[in-house]
């Protein structure tokens, strides 16, 4: 019950934080931001990891966990790299502006 209690608070505060953080963004950054946020949603890799670690002698579960981990890492690694690729163009630009 304590976990549940805390977890619900965490859920509430996390959602509020998300609403506030994203509130003011220039349209330029919408695509990169979407892509970056998308990469963060790959945090389920932690759930997959936990699954694999907690049941080391359950082959079906290990397989499921491993596949799940693969999907999640695909999301995380790909997501951050793609975002970086997009943003690389901006950062070069803004440096040029300051000169």
């Amino acid at each position: 019950m304590t976990f549940l209690n805390e977890a619900l608070w965490v859920l509430l505060l996390g959602s509020l934080l998300g609403l506030e953080l994203i509130g003011k963004v220039p349209p330029t950054l919408h695509t990169p931001l979407m892509s970056g946020a998308n990469a963060i949603s790959g945090i389920t890799m932690l759930a997959a990891l936990t699954l694999i670690i907690k049941v080391p002698d359950n082959p079906p579960l290990l397989l499921i966990g491993s596949i799940s981990l693969g999907f999640a890492l695909f999301n995380v690694v790909g997501g951050f790299l793609v975002t970086d690729r997009m943003l690389a163009m901006f950062s070069r630009k803004s440096k040029g502006n300051r000169k």
Binding site: L21, T31, P32, M34, N38, T44, L51, S66, F74, T83
Partner: protein, 477 residues
């Protein structure tokens, strides 16, 4: 709390802080790139936290390690390859694909725990109820995210068109049926999880397909953004399943962020989220409209005429659209504008909030071609400047410059904020053919007296234009 637990706790706190800072930083051009790296670092830390805690307490067997390494290696390598190979024009599809995989991951975790519970929880307890509920939500939302994202990707790639039946009322009946099956399967699951969970899984997958399939291409960015939000919800829900606070925070943040972005996009297109989700494709609703939408009095011209007009201009505004992205013409465009600038002609770019297939799509594209940031002007800034503009060059944009949105109350576009390019002295529209835009609606701009059409692929037309400009001796100074 023993040492590893304490360490994990500290790492989790730092990770949440960094994730929040990362999202915050992503909202400013200057800090965005560093912020993205901070977020990536936070994710790596979070994974290390889980590993440290497990090694310190229960230990991780070699068997587990090998499964971890296999899974992460395959996923990671594929992720790197995809991220490097994909062209900038295919960004929306790519985000959809990554997003779908995130949903799949949450779904699989929940499915695994459903059949092989991590801890034995007494039946009929509150904990049991919550566990079942979070498993159901993870599977339901994860499945919709996955199938919806894959369909969205396929449609954006042009692998799938919108089937006719999805435009009739039948689709509502079909989707409602899937939804009801999901609901029944969920209720059944509370009596004890068994194979009924697969019914939920299949019905949810079909629901994701059914809902996404009917949505027209122009609305796809909104759908991807919404699905992005869903994948956050799925992650948060998976956090309840495995008991991880960090997952819940991160998932909730992404879920909330996705919702806000979705709202912003809807606003830009003057569409409500409900009409996007349930209204079907715009073009079908306006069928009777486009029947009498034959174009008359179209003036087309050669690139030579266009070059001559540009030479005499003082202020030129470029309106980029999806056609520019498809033709990969941003670099050629930049060379043309360099010539004009060398001649002292003032060039700016009018960026409609939903030009392309995603907000910011055009900014990314033009930034790639070294277009100075301050030349990109947003709609509200550029609109009052059109009457004082000599030449507008519309490159593969259509609906965002359609005057119908202002003048014709019967038009499905009516009320959508558009760029008032028709107020400029001369307008050149570069377009592949006379086909309608993504909304399938006729564009009155093309029939206007001061509009000339330049037919052809944007890159080809711009290359021709450059040759003509050089022959005129522009940019020689």
């Amino acid at each position: 709390m023993n040492t590893p637990e304490l360490l994990k706790f500290a790492i989790d706190l730092i990770a949440v802080l960094l994730l929040a800072l990362g999202i915050k930083g992503l909202s400013k051009v200057r800090s965005a790139r560093a912020a993205n790296r901070i977020a990536a670092l936070a994710m790596a830390l979070a994974a290390i936290g889980v590993l440290i805690n497990s090694v310190g307490n229960t230990g991780i067997t070699i068997n587990s390690w090998s499964w971890i390494i296999i899974g992460s290696l395959i996923g990671g390598v594929l992720g790197v390859l995809t991220a490097q190979r994909v062209p900038m024009t295919a960004m929306p599809e790519t985000v959809a694909l990554f997003n779908g995989c995130g949903g799949m991951s949450s779904l699989l975790v929940a499915l695994g725990v459903a059949f092989y519970p991590l801890e034995t929880i007494p039946n009929n307890s509150v904990d049991n109820l919550i566990e079942t509920l979070s498993i159901i939500i993870s599977i339901f939302v994860g499945a919709i995210t996955f199938s919806g994202s894959i369909i969205a990707m396929a449609k954006l790639q042009g692998w799938l068109s919108t089937p006719n039946w999805t435009q009739s009322k039948v689709r509502h009946a079909v989707n409602i049926t899937f939804a009801i099956i999901c609901l029944i399967a969920s209720i059944q699951s509370f009596q004890g999880i068994n194979n009924v969970i697969f019914l939920l899984l299949i019905a949810s997958l079909l629901l994701g397909i059914g809902v996404t399939l009917s949505i027209g291409g122009a609305d796809m960015p909104v759908v991807i953004s919404l699905l992005n939000s869903y994948s956050g919800i799925a992650a948060a829900s998976a956090g309840f399943v495995v008991g991880s606070q960090l997952l819940i925070v991160a998932g909730a943040m992404v879920g909330a962020a996705g919702l806000i972005l979705t709202q912003v996009m809807c606003k830009g297109m003057n569409r409500s989220l409900l009409s996007v989700l349930f209204g079907g494709s715009l073009s079908k609703n306006s069928n009777n409209k486009s029947k009498d939408g034959e174009y008359k009095n179209i003036t087309s011209c050669s690139s030579e005429e266009c070059a001559l007009t540009l030479e005499a201009a003082e202020r030129v505004v470029i309106v980029p659209g999806y056609g520019l992205a498809v033709a990969q013409a941003q670099h050629t465009l930049r060379e043309v504008t360099r010539l004009l600038e060398a001649e002292g002609i003032e060039v700016s770019y009018a960026i409609h909030p939903v030009a392309g297939r995603m907000p910011g799509h055009m900014n990314v594209l033009l930034a790639e071609a070294d277009v100075p940031y301050e030349q990109l002007k947003e709609m509200d800034v550029i609109n009052p400047e059109f009457p004082a503009t000599d030449v507008v060059l519309v490159l593969g944009a259509n609906d965002v410059v359609n005057p119908q949105a202002k003048n014709d109350p019967d038009s499905p576009l009516y009320g959508m904020p558009v760029l008032d390019v028709n107020e400029a002295k001369t307008i050149f529209v570069v377009k592949r053919g006379m086909s309608a835009g993504y909304s399938g609606i006729k564009n009155d701009l093309f029939e206007m007296q001061n509009t000339s059409m330049l037919f052809g692929d944007a890159k080809k037309v711009l290359a021709d234009l450059m040759v003509e400009l050089k022959e005129l001796g522009i940019g020689k100074k």
